[in-house]
Amino acid sequence: MAIKGSIVVDTERCKGCGVCLGACPNQVIALSKNVNGKGYNYAEPIKDECIGCASCAMVCPDGVITVYKTKL
């Protein structure tokens, strides 16, 4: 049984500060090459190794990350 997680980033609200990148234990998050409506390189998940620990959501100043977790 493995714990699998997934995050959803509200890309329009994300300001691309990058604080979540360092908080992630599995380096799942990276800043996108694309920009949102305000011109920020928003954060996005790049790997399928999320464990749903919600560390990224804990440190996000704008609360743009929603976290899901399940046991497979």
Partner: protein, 260 residues
């Protein structure tokens, strides 16, 4: 983007933005600790179920628009006078949860008198003090809490003791007063620190529920725009330079000073 649609279902939700914050996009700079602190306070209010009883006193400073973000009753205060307003509202509505949200320029400079006297009277209020060592909103001028040698707009060669005096450790000062019941210093730069800060803010509101006296929570935060750094570098600089002067931890618990 990697999305696992099998996982993204309402029953698997572990974390989402609290409804005690409004949908307004915060005006704070990217990576600013204010946003995290707002969210942590809102989560505590939601968990305690006191949204209809909480009253936020918004200060002057970067967080002057705090009432746009907290979905609770709010009152704006003149610069530094939030503890005085909070005193009045708490005395008129003793069963409500009145909290002030203040920065270091507001609380430790222009509002020193109000802060010290409200704490000395032991008013049953929660004071949230965000310390980033700088006047962020007005363009990064020196604040009382600015570190020695720190370069700001008004100390371009670094703060010197001869000219500007010493950094004000107002939290330690307030812990000496008999009116304060709970005095602590926390930060919000890592997930572990956020959890500890949340616990401390929860404790402060619980003390208020029990009408114990003033609860004072300092949160050492970053000001990446004022410090002229990236958000991640500012958090690292804060750990290396702010924490030796402003050590994180409880200073006074249950009316007794914590022995170090």
């Amino acid at each position: 983007m990697v999305f696992n649609q099998d996982i993204i279902k309402p029953e698997n939700l572990v974390y989402k933005r609290t409804n005690v914050l409004t949908d307004a996009v915060m005006h704070y700079c990217p990576g600013c600790g204010h946003g995290t602190i707002h969210r942590v306070i809102a989560e505590v209010i939601e968990e305690m179920g006191i949204q209809d009883k909480a009253i936020c006193i918004a200060p002057v400073g970067c967080s002057v628009l705090a009432y746009n973000y907290f979905n609770v009753d709010s009152q704006g205060a003149a610069h530094g006078r939030a503890p005085a307003i909070a005193t009045a509202i708490q005395r008129l509505y003793p069963d409500n949860h009145v909290f002030t949200y203040q920065g270091d320029g507001d609380l430790a400079a222009i509002g020193t008198a109000e802060t010290i006297h409200a704490c000395n009277r032991g008013e049953n209020i929660v004071i949230i003090f965000v310390n980033n060592g700088i006047y962020g909103m007005t363009g990064g001028q020196m604040a009382p809490t600015t570190l020695i040698g720190m370069k700001t707009a008004t100390t371009p060669y670094g703060r010197s003791v001869e000219l500007n005096g010493y950094p004000l450790q107002i939290t330690e000062l307030l812990a000496e007063l008999p009116g304060t019941y709970y005095v602590t210093r926390q930060s919000v730069h890592t997930p572990a620190a956020v959890r500890k800060a949340k616990k401390a803010i929860r404790q402060a509101f619980e003390n208020q529920k029990g009408k114990k006296g003033t609860s004072f929570v300092e949160l050492v935060s970053n000001c990446n725009s004022g410090w002229k750094m990236t958000p991640v570098a500012a958090n690292k600089w804060m750990e290396e330079n702010m924490f030796p002067k402003y050590p994180v931890g409880d200073i006074k618990v249950n009316g007794e000073k914590v022995s170090k």
